[in-house]
């Protein structure tokens, strides 16, 4: 079973502060994703990556940056956190192109911006 680990599990930040959410996967998947989940909106894609050194904008990238320094690690960075970024954030990894392609999710990070 694929392993995707997110840290921290919970985070409280102040408006204007910098927040970094981390994600690590141990299955050598090429693709990694950051989603946020909000009531009424489901899961929305923020940023994704096809491999080390690559980041791509998802559907709601404004206010977020991403970094993929290695195959295993994918970070989501909020340079200037705002209360509207209070949400649950999920990281996922997967490999397109195989018949068994699917996404594997981390356990989520609950972020509160005060």
């Amino acid at each position: 079973e694929a392993a995707v680990t997110q840290s921290p599990r919970n985070k409280v930040a102040v408006t204007g502060g910098k927040v970094t959410l981390s994600c690590n996967q141990t299955n050598n998947h090429n693709n990694m994703y950051w989603y946020r989940q909000d009531t009424g909106h489901g899961l929305r894609l923020i940023h994704y990556s096809y491999g080390a050194g690559s980041t791509e904008k998802g559907d709601i990238p404004d206010g977020y940056k991403a970094s993929r320094p290695s195959q295993e690690n994918f970070s989501l960075i909020l340079e200037l956190a705002t209360p509207s970024q209070t949400s649950v954030y999920f990281c996922a990894s997967g490999d397109w192109g195989s018949s068994a392609e699917t996404l594997y999710f981390g356990s989520g990070t609950r972020l509160t911006v005060l």
């Binding site: 489901g42 899961l43 894609l45 994704y48 096809y50 559907d59 397109w96 996404l103 999710f105 989520g108």
Partner: protein, 109 residues
């Protein structure tokens, strides 16, 4: 949520009964995935589908690409089936998934 519409939005079942969840797509999609988010918030993959049908235990899922829909059938529902079921479409082989808003299922004893 408009590109991937799930129905119903919520459902309550008695233990041991059967039901079907549906996803309709307004975008061209080559593959579909189904996930279950349990009451603790963890997301687990259930199915990855190209056009056709897959079965796993009491769950069966079909993806009809010509008519742009997918279904998830739950047979003999159990308490542990409770949670929110999401379908997601791979929009044009972009390696991005677009999620529906989910169907929240409550299985009652």
């Amino acid at each position: 949520g408009d590109q991937v519409k799930q129905s119903p939005s919520a459902l309550s079942l008695q233990e041991g009964t059967n039901s079907a969840l549906r996803c309709n797509f307004s975008i061209a999609t080559t593959t579909v995935q189904w996930f279950l988010q349990n009451p603790r918030g963890s997301l687990m993959n259930l199915f990855y589908l190209v056009p056709g049908t897959k079965e796993n235990g009491r769950l069966k899922s079909t993806f009809n690409s010509k008519e742009s829909y997918s279904t998830l059938h739950i047979r003999d529902a159990q308490l542990e089936d409770s949670g929110t079921y999401f379908c997601a479409a791979d929009a044009g082989n972009t390696r991005k998934l677009i999620f529906g808003l989910g169907t929240t299922l409550q299985v009652q004893p």
